[in-house]
């Protein structure tokens, strides 16, 4: 990454557009409303919303990998499960407070992902995808084999650990709700900030044309490795929170491709790959469909699969990408416009997204 990222003297890069200013206002209002939800004391709504937040976060991270770094992983369940197990084992073995378990899960997930990404980046394109699956399978089998981590039957979280979050049930539920909300907001915030940096520009260049990006001096493998590690750490944190709420963990629930990665993929594909808004819209669609079609899990998955294939063939940028392209919408300040700063009338010189 050399040159090209510094604007010429007397000009500056502007990220926001009118649409993104409206968008940011919308997000602020939405998050403010969502923060207030626990005061309504609707337990079921809170439960559903925490699930929505976890999938917004997980799908956004998958989108960062596939949509921006070109790394289509079907092995993200490895990090969901790893995060869950880290939190459980820290609590069981060392009596670590679960709130401290969250960052620890991120640390462990991030560290373990380093050798994994070094190895997997030896595989190109689609072979990377299946390689990531092998790694996740390996995790599943190792956790089944090792009695110290509970073997095939897994482990449960002792009540004392749960009580250490907060004594009363309603406070505890509110705390868990706010943490999930904070995680979703933080994941999207980090992705938006990352995309606005030079790394983000590099990633978008890789996404649009890998060869051209390389010839402009971008270290493609390095950028990909960084994104993979960041996504792994964040996925592990979300995973630890998911299993903190579930109160028990088994290798099959922790490293399930169907519970985690399949949903991340369908949500992102339907909402829009390579758009920050995509996974958010996708999660909303996913849960709306589920409310109507939840009778049988397998029927639901078939319908989701058909919808995802249809979207991939007819509108590969997903529903949001399709709409946004048509109307020029962008709900996050991610555009890059070069504006002459010193002139009295700011006049866009070149508009590049």
């Amino acid at each position: 990454m050399t040159g090209g990222s510094k604007p010429p003297p007397g000009a500056k890069v502007v990220h926001s557009t009118i649409a993104s200013r409206i968008g940011v206002a919308f997000w602020i209002v939405l998050v403010a409303v969502l923060i207030a939800i626990p005061y309504w004391r609707d337990r079921q709504a809170m439960r559903l919303l925490t699930e929505i937040y976890s999938f917004v976060a997980l799908a956004s991270l998958w989108n960062l990998l596939a949509g921006y770094a070109g790394l289509v992983s079907v092995g993200q369940q490895a990090f969901v499960g790893l995060g869950g197990y880290t939190l459980y084992l820290c609590a069981l073995w060392a009596g670590v407070n679960p709130m401290l378990g969250l960052p620890l899960a991120g640390l462990v997930g991030g560290l373990i992902s380093i050798p994994i990404v070094v190895l997997l980046l030896k595989l190109r394109g689609a072979y990377f995808t299946i390689g990531s699956w092998v790694v996740a399978e390996l995790f599943l089998q190792i956790f089944q084999l090792v009695p110290a981590v509970g073997g095939g039957s897994g482990i449960s979280l002792p009540a004392t650990v749960v009580l250490s979050i907060a004594k009363s049930r309603s406070t505890r539920e509110s705390v868990i709700y706010w943490i999930f909300l904070a995680l979703a907001v933080a994941v999207i915030g980090v992705i938006v900030i990352l995309l606005r940096t030079r790394y983000g520009l590099a990633l978008q260049a890789i996404r649009d044309n890998e060869t051209a990006a390389k010839s402009n001096g971008i270290d493609v493998n390095r950028a990909r490795a960084v994104v993979f590690v960041v996504a792994a750490a964040a996925t592990a944190i979300v995973g630890s929170m998911i299993f903190l709420q579930k109160l028990s963990i088994t290798p099959f629930s922790a490293f399930s491709i169907n519970d985690w990665t399949v949903n991340m993929i369908f949500i992102t594909v339907i909402g829009g790959v390579g758009r920050v808004e995509g996974p958010i819209l996708g999660t909303v669609i996913y849960f709306v469909l589920r409310e109507f079609l939840a009778d049988l899990a397998s029927t639901y998955l078939i319908i989701l699969g058909v919808v995802a294939i249809g979207v991939m063939l007819k509108a590969p940028k997903g529903i949001w990408g399709h709409v946004a392209d048509r109307f020029g919408w962008q709900l996050f300040p991610l555009a890059r416009r070069l504006v002459r700063a010193v002139q009295p009338r700011a006049e866009p010189v070149a508009g590049l997204v």
Partner: protein, 287 residues
């Protein structure tokens, strides 16, 4: 002698993995498509054989006469009706075949429940040559291995000695020029998928005689085939056979150490090869 026995069993099993791998690398070679639903299509072939055997009251090997052509035609239709539209970019082929994989698994689940099934080959399953008390070669694994080697040899001849094989290679090298020379890519792609599924249908029936299968068995088969392809080296059929055998050996030895270990051992050996020799054992294209 026991160690010889384990090694031989591993090698014989490896032939089947090589067939899964050959089907996978065939379509990758011709159209740069990595079919995530590959394993699930193998399982479809196994279910189809199961019901063909029941309906016609025949054995698994006889059922191949019906299963192989039907699955091949199905592959042709699948390619022309769906997958041809997904080719091109990086994401669509991966995600469309991924969606297909999830759909197939759940359709199979609804139709045939979660019960495990197996194809019974009758008394031949028990026949073996006993060389010493702890070294015997079952006739069935031997047949499977010989058939696998014959099919891989046949594919090799097909690619380099026939007109369609030449068209495959031409399309693989440069689809646009091949099209200009009067080769219809859409048709060639569909033929490649038909051939790939015909090959894996044989392997699918063989594996379903060996072990039980259920609607969710596909991903495991995909991974076995994939590991064999990468370990063998991309683009080389005989390398793929070697990769399959190496995987079979790793699993056999792993299973000997601990009954829960065979697949883990296979994955570990795969990652080791990837680390030490990422281009595979016998790469055709040096990179």
């Amino acid at each position: 002698m026991e160690i010889v026995n384990i090694l031989v069993q591993g090698i014989l099993l490896g032939g089947l993995y090589a067939l899964f791998a050959a089907g996978l690398s065939l379509i990758f070679g011709v159209m740069r498509l990595v079919n995530i639903a590959h394993g699930d299509l193998i399982v479809v072939a196994a279910y189809f054989a199961y019901f063909t055997m029941q309906a016609l009251d025949i054995g698994p090997f006889t059922s191949l006469i019906v299963v192989v052509p039907v699955i091949a035609v199905f592959g042709y239709a699948l390619q022309r009706g769906l997958l041809n539209f997904a080719l091109g970019d990086d994401l669509p082929p991966l995600l469309v075949t991924f969606g297909l994989s999830v759909i197939i698994q759940n359709v199979l689940l609804i139709l045939f429940t979660h019960d495990s099934r197996r194809l019974y080959a009758g008394p031949i399953e028990m026949v073996s040559w006993k060389f010493t008390p702890d070294f015997a070669i079952g006739i069935l694994p031997l047949i499977q291995f010989v058939v696998a080697v014959l099919i891989i040899g046949g594919l090799q001849l097909f690619f380099y000695r026939t007109r369609i094989g030449r068209n495959f290679r031409a399309t693989s090298d440069d689809p646009a020029i091949a099209q200009l020379m009067g080769i219809e890519n859409r048709h060639i792609f569909a033929l490649a998928m038909a051939l790939s599924l015909a090959v894996v249908a044989v392997a699918g029936v063989f594996i379903a005689v060996r072990t039980t299968f259920n609607p969710f068995y596909g991903p495991q088969l995909l991974i076995f085939g994939f590991e064999a392809v990468i370990m063998g080296g991309l683009g080389s059929l005989w390398g793929t056979l070697a990769g399959g055998i190496l995987l079979g050996l790793a699993q056999a030895i792993g299973g000997q150490i601990n009954v829960g270990l065979p697949f883990t051992a296979g994955h570990v050996v795969f990652l080791l090869v990837l680390f030490l020799r990422p281009q595979g054992l016998f790469p055709k294209v040096s990179s």
